[in-house]
Amino acid sequence: MAETDFEPKIVAFLCNWCTYTGADLAGTSRIQYPPNVRIIRLMCSGSVDPTYVLKPLLDGADGVLIGGCHPGDCHYQSGNYKARRRVIALKEILKNAGIDEDRVWLRWISASEGQRFANTVTEMTEFLKEKGPNPMRREWAV
């Protein structure tokens, strides 16, 4: 595939209360953003087990986006604070394991930030286009 044709695949885990609603707002507001993102709705960013992020990465997804409420706004009080620590640990582990940790993004996007959601997806798509396809996509023996 020529580099110019490369369309990254992003798997996004979005919390029900903020980021997913933000994505919904982007849609209802008819804000344009790249169609490279596949959204999976979860109740909370705190319910993202590292395995959810690892599985798509190892199967060849080009990026994983985790979206949650801004600090202080978690519907469950502290889910996003726990997600923050988990993602920090995950990225440190990936870095040390020789896997590109920059393919994992954590972003706080509230229900009213449709524009921020669209911007984030646009930025991430551009970033991953620049970076190129996830080398894991070609691996058959991981």
Partner: protein
């Protein structure tokens, strides 16, 4: 108090057995979890209630077939409540601290007895040493086997090697136990240095004694030497991870789950990887094979290790049972320790250091890493 357990005829093991027997007889503990020599010559932990049985106890035997912290959890988290003494190595003590935080063990009913560790062999190596007859295993704990205690030097018997984890263990000294048998720096023919609570010492009829022992100086030396070995090993592993990636280092993994089974920290009864989550319909495998041309089976070996890293590496105490029990001879423990060191540093966390210190992933502060997620 600090005092000496008297040793007669250079028989250190008999002195340790006598000390443990007294703990049972005086009722300080109702039962003792301690490594015992079976009639067939294997060393295995056993829960002992009969003081007479303790002539089979051998916490000094240089062999580690499992991390007994899990067993300490087994005898401490549920009723009925007895006082249970647990004789543990330093890496087992550290694992116990982590298991307490994971609510898999409780200190309430435990009396921990820590023993400085002079290095351990794999079970197979220990059995070979015993069977070949070249090494007098009966001598262990009876004078000669503890010859390295004064220097702290890690000296395996000729022709044999200590476990990989022991060779790079920079924490072989028992810390934080209720009772500590202080082997490092001790001239054991003159008695075994022990530190224990005053009340317990009085019950056992011991009085504080003044004696010369170089424990802290010897430990300092041992820690420095082993840290150097560890760092060299970590550098080697990091270079491999850098070049081959974790999928390369673990390429020959057959996903037997041994590393998880023997890991003292991996306590989950329903591990995701033992569930049916990763069992798929035949058509699914066929699709994957079509897409990539070939599809490794069993699949998800790298996912298994990366998930385990995420779930337990912050609590990895470096006992190295994973390496000992890997049929593919993968450096599981070294990889986990090397990655663990970096990850633990992020949270300024040291597994096994303090039972009051919360696990990094169950605690948080509102105003930390404020820039994360806001880009």
């Amino acid at each position: 108090m600090r005092t000496l357990i008297p040793v007669e005829n250079d028989d250190t093991l008999a002195a340790v057995q006598g000390f443990l027997r007294q703990m049972l007889e005086t009722g300080i503990v109702d039962t003792l979890l301690v490594p015992m020599e079976t009639p067939h010559g294997a060393i295995t932990p056993a829960l002992v209630s009969d003081p007479e049985m303790l002539d089979r106890a051998n916490p000094l035997a240089p062999v580690m077939g499992l991390n007994a912290a899990r067993l300490a959890g087994r005898v401490s988290v549920r009723e009925p409540r007895d006082r249970v003494g647990v004789v543990l190595r330093p890496c087992e003590l550290r694992a116990l601290v982590e298991l307490i935080k994971l609510q898999q063990a409780s200190l309430d009913d435990l009396v921990t007895i820590g023993v400085d560790c002079l290095g351990t062999y794999d079970v197979s190596v220990y059995a070979a040493m015993r069977d070949d007859g070249g090494v007098d295993m009966a001598a262990y704990g009876r004078g000669t086997g503890l010859a390295t205690a004064p220097s702290g030097e890690l000296a395996a018997e000729e022709g044999y090697t200590f476990r990989d984890a022991c060779q790079m263990c920079e924490k072989p000294h028992a810390e934080g136990a209720d009772v500590t048998l202080e082997l490092f720096g001790a001239d054991l023919s003159g008695g075994i240095p022990v530190s224990l609570p005053d009340a317990m010492g009085e019950t056992l009829g011991l009085t504080a004694a003044e004696f010369e022992a170089d424990r802290s100086r010897v430990i300092e030396k041992v820690v420095a030497a082993r840290t150097q070995v560890r760092d060299e090993r970590f550098a080697e592993i990091r270079e491999r991870l850098d070049q081959e990636g974790v999928e390369g280092v673990f390429a020959s993994c057959i996903r037997c789950h041994n590393c998880m089974t023997v890991c003292p920290i991996c306590y989950c009864k329903t591990c995701l990887f033992k569930s049916q989550v990763f069992d798929h319909e035949p058509v699914q495998y066929a699709n994957w094979a079509q897409r990539k041309g070939a599809y490794r089976m069993p699949a998800d070996t790298t996912l298994f290790h990366l998930t385990r890293l995420n779930h337990m590496v912050l609590s990895c105490v470096g006992c190295g049972m994973c390496t000992s029990d890997c049929p593919a001879d993968l450096p599981v423990g070294a990889v986990f320790r090397a990655i663990g060191q970096e990850t633990q540093a992020v949270f300024d966390y040291e597994p096994g250091r303090d039972v009051e210190e919360p696990l990094p992933l169950i605690t948080f502060q509102e105003d930390e890493w404020m820039d994360v997620g806001e880009e």
